[in-house]
Amino acid sequence: MREITYEGATQEAIQEEFRRDPKTVHLSTDLYAELQNEFGAERIRVTPIAENSFVGAAIGLAGSGFRTVVNIRMATFGFVAMDQMINHAAKIHYMFGGQAKFPILYRMTVGAGISAAAQHSVSPYPMYMNAPGLKIILPSTPYDAKGLFKTALRDMNPVVSFEHVALGGMRGEVPQEEYFVPFGHASVRREGSDVTVVALAKMVHEALEAARELAEEDISVEVIDPRTLVPLDRGTIFESVRKTGRLVVVDEACQTCGAAAEIVALVTSDAAVFGRLKAAPARVCGLDVPIPFSPPMEKFAVPDKVKIVEAVRGVLESRSVPS
């Protein structure tokens, strides 16, 4: 199968859907020349540097029958637009009693690893998860990026796509034929029987490497990529933990109140799954610090293969002491 980049895959999805539906608009502070050449400057618009206004404009467009892709770029800049995102995009369908629909795709990049320091290296999807009304996707491969974008561009709700900066250039197989990756369906990236590792975004790849390394010691790791955080596919996670009895959740975002906390809480508060746990679950998350600039500290602040391997060993060694 042909290979294209993650970024190319997202662009392809946008192109296909913009061809299909003329009532689509693209807003960003940056010029997307290829899109503008094809769809014109009326629909592919460069905005002023004024995030709150164009994040809000997408809501007005939606309420008037248009679908908008808003590329906010770095998630840092999303905080400038939080009023429109949280007070409005997330709530407006609900507070108006469902009478209008708000199909919008908001895009932001997340993640550390490019020496961009505290402001420009954020992974704030947990904050958005706390705001019901938003769907949240977190593609980790070119295939998923395209498939999830295609689904997002048919969804009738505000969808927020968080894309890891390190993945944009990643190449991977993407079919020529049209396909969709449905929301709320996790992908079991690797099957295993000893430990369930749920990993997000770039951490999926770190977890797979960790799993390969551990396989050499005959430790069998199952790696699950939820792909969408809202809705979250609990079923697949529960099933896996019921099988393995052990859970490690890996996420680059700050640990406190993160997606990993939510997944651990969901798993442990399900009586049936809880009963099958052989050890305390573990979180391998970004430290609760702003991301520092200098590489030795930056690397230390986020999870990697080594830390995942350690955590997996940890849950294998620790034993639940039955009371």
Binding site: K23, G60, Q84, Y94, G97, G98, Q99
Partner: protein
């Protein structure tokens, strides 16, 4: 542009409908029958009325926290409004929104909103939609003098100006944001100085004179439909009630100021004019009033007779299907 009698009567009736609706809401609130945050539009009726008169159902408006008047002027159903304010299932938002979040997308009323200034960016989107639709539709956005202090105001003016959006900015300058004066909190002594910085043509009118509002809005709307880009209308007015209906909130505005504005009632003034010009007799006024009162009464009763939502209804409408 001189209005025919029929139009004048309709302007009058719309204003009176807003007034009677709001009076009833206030009375019921103070009797303990309504709850939540209700911002009364009394005193500002001429603005929504004069502007919306120029709009077709396909034109869109975006409102703010003081939104009942905009709904009524845009043609919303009183029954469903009252039901929403009472938190009933038959309300516009099935009881999910309440007074601060009434909307009727079917008539281009894109919603009231509780965040000061936040309707402005949303309105730029609606105006961009109108521009892309290419059918000479326009959008009007209503906001207070307080909203002019928020960054979103500046961003929306700029966006509308650079994209030449068919957006009518309607500033309802009632001189206060809660208890803080515009003089204290906004350095632009004339609000229109700000849109002018962006080369947006402005009109400042007496917002309690419905004919003046209607005239200025008419010129602006014609220009907008002609594709000339945004226009800005500042309407000077005053709210009669406290910031929101409340038995405890303090009203720090000077008593004489409140009383002097009560003398400038947009409805009484217009009624006097219409009688003077022979458009309506005193008896006509009474007939109109009793019709309006009946409508409001029916709306209130409709709402009263409507059921509350079920608790579990809270789980619906988080996501569209």
């Amino acid at each position: 542009m001189l209005l025919e009698s029929q139009s004048l009567i309709e302007l009058y009736t719309t204003m009176l409908t807003i007034r009677r609706f709001e009076e009833r809401v206030a009375a019921e609130f103070h009797a303990g029958n309504l709850f939540g945050f209700i911002h009364s539009y009394i005193g500002q009726e001429a603005i929504a009325t004069g502007v919306c008169r120029h709009l077709d159902p396909e034109d869109r408006i975006v409102s703010h926290h003081r939104g009942h008047g905009h709904c009524i002027a845009k043609g919303a159903d009183l029954n469903r409004m009252m039901a929403e304010i009472q938190g009933k299932k038959t309300g516009y938002c099935k009881g999910k929104g309440g007074s601060m979040h009434i909307a009727d997308f079917s008539i281009g009323m894109l919603g009231a909103d509780g965040i000061v200034g936040a309707g402005l960016p949303i309105a730029t989107g609606a105006a961009l939609a109108a521009q892309l639709e290419g059918e000479n539709r326009i959008t009007a956005v209503f906001f207070g003098d307080g909203a002019c202090q928020e960054g979103e105001f500046h961003e929306a003016l700029n966006l509308a100006a650079i994209w030449k959006l068919p957006l009518l900015f309607v500033c309802e300058n009632n001189h206060y944001g809660v208890n803080t004066t515009r003089e204290y909190s906004l350095a632009a002594d004339e609000i229109v100085r700000i849109p002018k910085a962006y080369h947006i043509p402005t009109h400042a009118v007496h917002g309690n004179d419905v004919e003046a509002v209607h005239r200025a809005a008419g010129e602006a709307v014609a220009a907008l439909r002609g594709g000339d880009g945004p226009r800005f209308l500042e309407c000077e007015t005053y709210r009669w009630h406290k910031h929101f209906l409340s038995d405890t909130l303090e009203d720090l505005r000077p008593r004489e100021e409140i009383e002097s504005w009560a003398q400038k009632c947009p409805i009484a003034a217009f009624a006097a004019k219409l009688v003077e010009r022979g458009v309506l007799t005193q008896m006509d006024l009474e007939r109109i009033d009793s019709g309006v009162l009946r409508e409001v009464e029916e709306a209130y009763q409709y709402a009263l007779d409507s059921p509350y939502p079920e608790p579990e209804d809270a789980l619906e409408d988080v996501y569209a299907p």
